[in-house]
Symmetry: C2
Subunit: 497 residues, 2 copies
C-alpha cells in the first residue's frame, strides 16, 4: 500500500512537472499567438492532474494508511499528512461551486486590472466582495482551524500560523520600525543614489547575474537563468530548478538583486535531500520559510558590506562608466537607502514589513467580520498614514496596487513578513556556528553559509513543518527581536541616528 501510494503521487508529480514546463515556457518567451491553443493544453493536463488529486482511489489509500499512521516510516507518515491536507482542500468543495468560483475569479482579476488602471475602487468592490464571500463559504467546508476563519487561510500558506502570533510579533516589529522610519525622515539626509540609475547594458547585467549565481553556489547543471517580465523561481524537478529575471537598463538593481533573491529560493530547492526526489514533500515547507531563504540571500548577503567589497569589481568590469569611480562604501549606502513609500514591491528592506502589516490587519478584519469591503480604501490610507507617515493620493497607489486579493489569495501576504523575521532568526543562529560570516563574504567563500542553511533548512524539504524546522534549527519559536535588532543597529549606523 505504501509503495502503491508513492507510485501514485510520483505520477501526479509528472503532470506537475509537465505543467510547470508549460508555465515556465509561457513566461520566458513562448510566442504570443500560440498562447490561445496553449491554454487548452494546460486545461487538459491540469484537469488530468486534478482528477488524480481528487480520485477516490487516492482517498482510499490515505484512509487505509491513516489507520496505522504511527507504524509508518516517518517520510510516509508526513507524506500521508500532507496529502490528506491537500486532498481535503480539493475534495471538500462541491465541484459546481468550485467551477463558479473559478469563473468569478477570472472576472474579478479582470475587474481589478481595470479598476487599477482607472484608479477606481468601485469597479473592483463588488468582485472583491464575491471573493471574500467565496472564501468564507469554503472555510465553512474546510472548517475553522485554530479557532478562526482567517487562521484557516493562514494555515494554507504557513502551517499552524495564527492571528494571535502575528498580532504579537507585528506589534513588536512595528514598535521598532515605525519610529526608526520617522527618525530617518526627520533627519532629512539621504545618500547619493545617482550611480544606481545610470545605463547598464543588458548583456553585461546578464553576465554579472550568471557570475553571481555561480558565486552563491547555484548549480547551473541543475538549473538555468532566463528573462521574463515578472521574475520567479520554478521547480520542475529536484535537479531542474530555474530562475528568471528582468533587465532594466536604467536600474540594474532589478536584475542583480532580483537574481540574488531568486537564488535564495533556488538554493532551497536544489539542496533538498535526494531521498525525497519525485515526492510532493520535495519542495519548500511553506511560503514563509521559502521567503526566508530568498530574503536571507537578498539582505544578509546581497546587502552585506564584505560581500560587495569582494564582488564590486564585477560591476566595475561590466559597467565601467557607471561604477569605475565609485567607492564601495558609497555604493553600499546607496543600495541600503530607506524611506517611506507607497508601493510595496518598490519598498526597501526597512519599510517593507510595514506594508505587509497594513495588508495583514485588513485581511484579518475582513474575515473576522469587523471590516466591510466598502471601508477598505479608507482604512488602507489611514494605516499607511499611521505606520509609514504617508497617504496615497488615489486607490491605484493604495488599496488597488496588489493583485493578490483579486484571485482570492487571502492569507498569503503575511508570508513575506515572516520571511524577514525567519531570515533574521536564521542569521542569529548561524552567527553562533559561523562567527566569521563577514570574513567568508569578504573572501568569497560562501560554501559554509550555504551548507549551514542546507543542514538546518534546505535538506528537509517539506518533511518538517515551519515551526518544527525553526525550533530545531534555532532553538526557539518565532522571535521577532532578531529582525528588529538587526534593522535598528544597521539603520542607526547607516543614517547616523
Amino acid at each position: 500500500m505504501e509503495q502503491q501510494l508513492i507510485d501514485y503521487v510520483k505520477k501526479m508529480k509528472h503532470y506537475d512537472e509537465a505543467l510547470s514546463v508549460l508555465y515556465w515556457d509561457m513566461r520566458t518567451g513562448a510566442p504570443k499567438k500560440g498562447l490561445e491553443q496553449r491554454a487548452n493544453v494546460i486545461g487538459t493536463l491540469a484537469s488530468q492532474s486534478f482528477q488524480m488529486a481528487t480520485a477516490d482511489e487516492l482517498g482510499d489509500m490515505l484512509t487505509q494508511l491513516e489507520a496505522k499512521l504511527d507504524e509508518l516510516p516517518y517520510v510516509t507518515k508526513r507524506l500521508v499528512e500532507e496529502l490528506r491536507k491537500d486532498y481535503d482542500l480539493n475534495k471538500k468543495i462541491p465541484v459546481a461551486e468550485y467551477e463558479q468560483f473559478t469563473i468569478d475569479k477570472s472576472r474579478s482579476e479582470a475587474a481589478w486590472e481595470e479598476a487599477k488602471e482607472q484608479a477606481d475602487f468601485s469597479i473592483f468592490a463588488p468582485h472583491l466582495e464575491k471573493m471574500v464571500a467565496w472564501k468564507k463559504k469554503f472555510i465553512g467546508y474546510w472548517g475553522e482551524k485554530n479557532g478562526s476563519a482567517y487562521n484557516t487561510l493562514l494555515d494554507q500558506y504557513e502551517p499552524d500560523m495564527t492571528t494571535d502570533i502575528l498580532d504579537d510579533v507585528f506589534a513588536q516589529v512595528r514598535s521598532v520600525i515605525s519610529p526608526l522610519v520617522q527618525q530617518i525622515v526627520a533627519k532629512g539626509q539621504q545618500p547619493n543614489t545617482d550611480m544606481l540609475f545610470q545605463h547598464f547594458q543588458k548583456d553585461g547585467q546578464r553576465q554579472v547575474a550568471i557570475e553571481i549565481l555561480q558565486r552563491l553556489g547555484y548549480d547551473f547543471d541543475a538549473g538555468r537563468l532566463d528573462e521574463t517580465v515578472h521574475p520567479f523561481m520554478i521547480e520542475l524537478n529536484r535537479n531542474d530548478i530555474r530562475v528568471t529575471t528582468k533587465y532594466d537598463e536604467a536600474d540594474f538593481r532589478s536584475a542583480i538583486f532580483g537574481v540574488i533573491h531568486e537564488c535564495g529560493h533556488a538554493l532551497y530547492e536544489q539542496n533538498i535531500d535526494e531521498s525525497l526526489t519525485g515526492l510532493p514533500l520535495c519542495t519548500g515547507t511553506s511560503m514563509g520559510i521559502h521567503e526566508s531563504q530568498s530574503l536571507f540571500y537578498e539582505n544578509f548577503i546581497g546587502r552585506n558590506e564584505q560581500f560587495w567589497t569582494h564582488n564590486f569589481s564585477l560591476l566595475q568590469q561590466y559597467s565601467p562608466a557607471q561604477f569605475g569611480d565609485v567607492a564601495v562604501d558609497d555604493f553600499l549606502k546607496a543600495i541600503n537607502f530607506a524611506k517611506p513609500s507607497l508601493i510595496r514591491i518598490e519598498a526597501d528592506e526597512l519599510t517593507y514589513v510595514l506594508h505587509i502589516i497594513v495588508r495583514y490587519e485588513l485581511e484579518r478584519d475582513l474575515f473576522n467580520g469587523t471590516l466591510e469591503v466598502a471601508d477598505l480604501p479608507g482604512r488602507w490610507n489611514d494605516l499607511y498614514e499611521q505606520y509609514l507617515g504617508i497617504r496615497p493620493a488615489n486607490d491605484a497607489e493604495g488599496v488597488l496596487q496588489d493583485m493578490h486579493w483579486s484571485d482570492g489569495s487571502f492569507g498569503y501576504f503575511p508570508s513575506y513578513a515572516l520571511g524577514y523575521m525567519y531570515a533574521a532568526q536564521w542569521k542569529h543562529a548561524m552567527d553562533k556556528d559561523i562567527p566569521n560570516f563577514d570574513e567568508l563574504c569578504l573572501s568569497g567563500n560562501l560554501t559554509p553559509i550555504r551548507e549551514w542553511l542546507t543542514e538546518r533548512v534546505h535538506r528537509h524539504g517539506a518533511l518538517k513543518k515551519p515551526f518544527e524546522l525553526l525550533h530545531e534549527g534555532t532553538g526557539e519559536g518565532l522571535n521577532p527581536t532578531y529582525l528588529t535588532t538587526y534593522l535598528r543597529d544597521k539603520y542607526t549606523k547607516l543614517y547616523d541616528l
Copy 2:
C-alpha cells in the same frame, strides 16, 4: 459522432503539444541533471497519449464514421482516413512485441553509437539484424502495401510511394548527376572558399539569423529561434512553430543555411489553414513534401545570386573582417562549390541525392530479400565508388555514419531525395506564375513567393496526400527532370564545364 471524434483528437493533440514542449526544452538547454527525472515525465505523458491513440473508444468512432465515409465533409473524411492509418499502425502490433522492440531498439541505438566510435560494424550487425527482423515482422501485421514489404515502409513516410517509382526517378537523376560530378572532378578547379571558414562571432550570427528569418517571412509572434546541438524545427501548435540552430564560429554556414532550411519547414507549418487548428491534419502531409519546403528555401532562395546580392551587406555588417572585401560573386561560387564526399550531412546540393540513392538501394534490397546485413558494408563501399567515385576508408565514414537504421527508421531516407525533386518541380511551376523570381529576390520582396507556396502547399496541411498536392500544384506527377535540368544548368555554368 463527428464532433465527438474531433474533441477526442484535439485532446490527443494537447498531449502531443505538452510532449513537444518537453522535447524542445530538453534540446534547447534543459539542465542535464534534471534529465533523468524528466524522462519519467515523458514516459507518463507518452503512455497517456498512446493509450488514447489505441483506445477501443477511438476505434469504435472510426468504424462508425467509416460506414458513411462518403457522406462526411471532406475534412472529416480525411481525418478519419489518417486516424485509421495511425490507429492500425499502433494497434495491430501485439503490445508485448512492441515493448520488446522498444527494448531492442534502445540497445541497438547504443550499439550503433559504440560501433561508430570504434569504426567496427561487427558490434552493430547483430542489432541491425534484429531491427530488420522486427520491421519485417511488423509488416506481417500491417500487411504489404503496393505489393512489397519495403513499399509498406515507404508509405509510412511518403504515402503511396513505391520502389517502382523510385527506381525510375533515381535512375534518371543518377544518370545526370554522376557524370556531372565526374566532370567537375576531372576539371580539377575549385573556387576559393577561404572566406567561409573565418571567425564569425556567435552573437553576430544570431543577429543575422534573426534578420534573415524575418526577411523570409517567418512570424516571430508565432515562433522563436533557439540554440541546440542538432538543429530542428518543431510544431507545438499552429501558432507556435519553433526553429533551432547551431552556431559554429569557424563555419557560419551551419547557422545561416541551417536557419534558412528550418525556416522552409517552419513557413509550411505557420501557413496551414486556420480551420485545421488543433487537428492531426494540421501538419505537413509527408516527410518528402516537408523537405521540399526546407530545400526550396535552402537552395532556390538561399543559394540564389540575387538573394545574396540583396542580403550580403548583412554578413558584411556583422562580420566585416571576414566579408568586408569579398565580392558577392566570389561568395556565391564558394557557397555553391560541389565535390564528392563521404559524409551525407556534409554533402553539397549537387551530390546529396547520390548519398540517398545508395541508402535507398541498400534498404530496398534488405527488405526485398536480396541483401544480407553481413554484406552491407561491402555493398555500401562499392556503391559509393560507383556513384561518387570515392571509397570509405572505414565503416565509421561508411555504413555506420547515420543513426536512422539503428532505431528501425527504414524507408525514411528517400524523403530527402524526394524533397530535392519536389522542390525543383515547385520551382518550375512557380516560374510560370512568377517569371520575375530573381527580381523579387533582388528587391527583397519574397512575399509573392511565400504566398505561392502557401496557396499550393502550405495551407492544405495534411488534407491532401503528396501526389494529389503535386498534381494539383504543378499539373503533373513526380518528374525528376526539373531537378536534373536545374543542376546541370547551374553546375555547368558555375564550373564552366
